[in-house]
């Protein structure tokens, strides 16, 4: 029976891709095979459009990076102890159905971690929506946060961080990214290889239903059209089953009876059977009628494409399957042998014995790659040449500071993170709200720090520089809590790559990020690409979001951002310049998104970070806080709010030639606000000088107000209580309006 063109087009395959499939297998595919190709060769699973560029990322750094080509990657943080981590997007499902979209995003990334034998220890959620004055943005935010809260809290994996950003560019396409981390003894990392002819192939966890059919190929690999009904392609999450699945899988791995394991995420049975076979250089013969089902009458192609959640594929040692099945039964979960590993490299799928698909696993798992055309967009030149020196100077800087503290991009995100259990597992040493989360590793002196960062505005205005600024800020955040940056994961959120200007943004971001990672000797251990984040109106800002993990030699020597003691000196590591392009101040006060993002000197950044880390490790700094959105004035305000103490600050005379608004609210990178006992100031100066980092004393901690002066004249002043009230309540007031 000839396959109709309508069928492959509905599955999201182009005519050219169909031709390629025919030439690859030497015949027309069966409907089931066609469905399998459509998911496996989709951008979501196979990365055919992004893979050629992703090779630019460095894979090695100072800390040993573990695992290549698996569900997640990691770094060794202590002898024989690896932290595995990965970030993913669930943008499209969340835009369609925010609660389930976000919930199943958490479920999916957690499975990527425990499938490798690691105990999940933390989740972070970087979130981006349209502006909160839009009812739709508020609806999406509330739904997404409830979904994460529902799923993550039940699992008992703390949500320790994330981001919250609001820009009009995300109105039609919210970005819901989620990062998870896990720990595992390095010599016990599990693989996803199917090997050993005759070994049983087992499906465990939830039964298979019609939910999520085509999620990867249709939902995640195309733009949204107006008014399209895509809800049936969103999966439904069951965190209780996932919690039991975590415990059962980790217990089963301990028996040693498991050969390989893989999470059924996008593309379910297709993805796991073909990728495990290909990774192991073997084949599989599976019988679909043995798979537990939620409803009768499902066609083989539906079974192969279903994205029902909370399922895993396991290859066990022949003869020890009962040990494995017994553990799943103890946890009340399905576990059924439905196939065997074969030696011929073929993935053979049967329905009631009849072969419905017979494909070379390697061919299915090796989608073609495309070199897409790219072109610099017109807006880029315009933004680069924007002259910001003529901007009108605000008359009342105190009013600007007050307004910036109320910006939802600056204000406290506690309305969100108090809905997440961020303390379960009793490892959270620095909770959400700090520069980075710090986790202890019970039984080890070392701890880890983790943060996520993105800046769509910077990356829109200059993708190469923007991506580097994001890495600089993320690593600076880690250094501020006393951690040495060690490894990176990324979630690259972009528009339609088939449009040359969008692909140019992607290309430049990847190049910028790869160069900066190489400079800082940071491996990119895992990642995810999310394309087609656009509607007929517009694309999202190019938004690479980074998750960066750092290591604390001694978790007791962590640092926090709030001022601690009256009388402490306030120091600024780094230098302020006229950096107003792309800033929160420019957007909020001048209603403009333009200019060049702040210039970044990677060596200067490295020096400032080295000085800060050394000062913290030597126990000289009482607090450390990164300067980012809203500039120095906002950073100082946050130090006051977190510490519950005021500060008296004089802006450095050396910068008196700069615009006052840039001195207060400009976002020059490579700056850190430290506070320290007066007796430690000299030693901090020495450290900074040795590391080649500029340092200046700005003032003193004390009182109940933040007072800022320049050249002897007061330029802004605000009470700590008022700042705290504005900063804490802004998001709640906007969301619950």
């Amino acid at each position: 029976m000839a396959v109709e063109a309508r069928l492959w087009r509905e599955l999201g395959l182009s005519d050219a891709e169909f031709e390629r499939i025919v030439s690859t297998i030497g015949r027309e595919p069966t409907p089931t095979e066609l469905a399998m190709f459509s998911v496996e060769w989709s951008e979501h699973c196979g990365y055919p459009r992004s893979r050629p560029l992703l090779g630019l990322f460095p894979k090695e750094g100072k800390y040993a990076s573990r695992v290549q080509g698996e569900d997640a990657g990691g770094i060794e943080v202590a002898p024989n102890l690896t932290v595995l981590f990965k970030m993913e997007s669930h943008n499209h499902p969340s835009q369609v159905e925010p609660f389930q979209g976000a919930a199943t995003g958490v479920g999916g990334i957690i499975r990527d971690i425990f499938t490798m034998g690691a105990r999940p220890i933390a989740v972070l959620d970087p979130l981006r929506f349209g502006e909160l004055d839009q009812p739709r943005a508020r609806y999406l935010l509330k739904g997404v946060v409830s979904g994460i809260s529902f799923y993550g809290n039940c699992l008992g994996v703390p949500t320790v961080g994330g981001e919250l950003r609001f820009e009009d560019a995300y109105r039609g396409n919210c970005l819901v990214n989620v990062m998870a981390l896990g720990v595992v003894e390095s010599d016990k990392i599990a693989t996803s290889k199917a090997i050993g002819v005759g070994n049983p192939v087992i499906i465990v966890g939830n039964s298979t239903g019609r939910d999520g059919i085509g999620g990867a190929s249709i939902l995640a690999s195309h733009e949204f059209g107006e008014g399209e009904e895509k809800r049936p392609t969103v999966q439904i999450g069951d965190p209780f089953t996932e919690k039991c699945l975590i415990e059962a899988c980790l217990e089963a791995l301990k028996t040693g009876a498991i050969v390989g394991m893989k999470d059924m995420g996008a593309a379910g049975i297709t993805c796991t059977t073909c990728e495990m076979s290909a990774a192991g250089g073997h084949g599989m013969d599976v019988e679909l009628q043995k798979v537990p089902r939620r409803e009768p009458g499902m066609e083989p192609w539906e079974m192969m494409m279903s994205e029902s959640q909370e399922r895993m594929l396991i290859v066990a040692q022949k003869g020890r399957e009962d040990e494995v099945l017994g553990i799943f039964s103890k946890w009340g979960l399905n576990a059924v042998v439905f196939g065997v590993v074969t030696d011929d490299g073929m993935l053979r799928v049967r329905d009631n014995g009849q072969v419905v698909a017979e494909l070379e696993a390697e061919a299915l798992a090796s989608p073609p790659t495309y070199d897409l055309p790219y072109e610099e967009p017109a807006y880029y030149r315009e933004a680069q040449s924007a002259d910001l020196s003529k901007l009108p100077m605000p008359g009342d800087m105190t009013a600007v500071l007050r307004d910036l503290l109320a910006s939802p991009n600056v204000a406290s995100a506690e309305w969100v993170y108090q809905q997440y259990d961020h303390m379960v597992q009793t490892n959270t040493v620095v909770a959400p709200g700090g520069d980075a989360a710090v986790l202890q590793l019970k039984g080890y002196r070392q701890g880890i720090a983790v943060t996520t960062d993105g800046n769509g505005r910077y990356c829109y205005l200059d993708p190469y520089l923007g991506a580097q600024l994001v890495l600089a800020e993320a690593t600076r955040n880690l250094v501020c809590v006393g951690a040495e940056p060690a490894g990176v994961t990324d979630c690259l959120n972009f528009g339609n790559p088939e449009k040359p200007d969008r692909f140019w943004q992607f290309r430049r971001c990847v190049e910028g990020l790869a160069d900066a990672c190489r400079f800082f000797r940071l491996p990119v251990v895992s990642g995810n690409v999310s394309f087609y984040n656009e509607t007929s109106d517009a694309a999202v800002y190019p938004t690479p979001v980074l998750g960066v993990v750092g290591v604390l030699d001694d978790v007791n020597k962590h640092c926090t951002s709030g001022f601690e003691r009256v009388g402490d000196a306030i120091l600024l590591l780094g230098e302020t310049r006229d950096d107003l392009g792309g800033t929160e101040y420019l957007k909020r006060h001048h209603k403009a998104v333009t200019g060049r993002p702040p210039a970044l000197d990677l060596q200067a950044e490295k020096n400032v970070q080295a000085a800060c880390l050394e000062a913290i490790r030597a126990g000289l700094a009482a607090s450390a806080h990164d300067c980012s959105d809203g500039g120095l004035a906002v950073a100082l305000a946050e130090c006051c709010i977190h510490g519950g103490i005021g500060a008296d600050v004089s802006l450095p005379a050396s910068e008196s030639a700069l615009r006052l608004d840039a001195r207060l609210f400009g976002e020059s990178p490579s700056r850190i606000v430290l506070s320290a006992a007066p007796g430690n100031v000299e030693r901090i100066r020495e450290i900074a000088s040795t590391q080649g980092a500029p340092v200046q004393v700005l003032g003193t901690v004390g009182g109940d107000r933040l007072s800022l002066s320049a050249e002897g004249k007061s330029v802004a002043a605000l009470g700590v209580a008022e700042m705290e009230r504005i900063w804490r309540s802004a998001i709640k007031e906007l969301v619950e309006q």
Binding site: N153, K243, Y420, M423, T426
Partner: protein, 237 residues
Amino acid sequence: MAAATKTKTRFGVVIFPGSNCDTDAWHAIHDRAGAPVDYIWHQETDVSGFDCVILPGGFSYGDYLRTGAVARFSPVMKAVAKFADRGRLVLGICNGFQILCEAGMVPGAMMRNAGQKFVCKYVHIRVETTDTPFTRAMKKGQVLRIPIAHGQGNYYCDGATLAELKRSDQIVFRYCTPDGEITAEANPNGALDNIAGICNPGRNVMGMMPHPERSSDPILGSADGRLVWESLIGGAR
């Protein structure tokens, strides 16, 4: 029975499918309080080998119905009820408190938080009585800084029950300000009379919403929860 007066309290932490504070309780008791502790699987039918049974936090059996509504029917809960009837110690934390309510081992019920949202944060609670094995190492009126993390901690009981709880000194903890004042603002979930923890008439079963196991290690921000373990150690019969 042979006297074993100096033996340390033996703790058992129940694991229901969906429990997620079981290991935290284990670590707090083992690492911080230095007492012997084991896990108890939900299908166990005998818990008599322990001195104190902990029903930990989490989402037992998913809690897709009412919190604790399924767990109360599990095999281990029959054994725990029998254990409590003999005067042995049972501490329900968070989901454990919800289960105790559902099982009728303490009076009252839990509703959704007044704000309709899950709340995870540090709160302050005031010690209302030290006349329990769970609080004897505390001082009456003492304020503890301790985290909560729940969506259904809005304790409720009828007026007669509340009067009885008060009359017989069964209210153990109440949400308060850092200075120990009982105010509406200090109440994170709408609980009746700011109730954060109560005990049964026999005073050997206590339920509390805040998490002492999360505040037993100073590096996590508070070690006030250790007073619960210190009260219990050496205090069991």
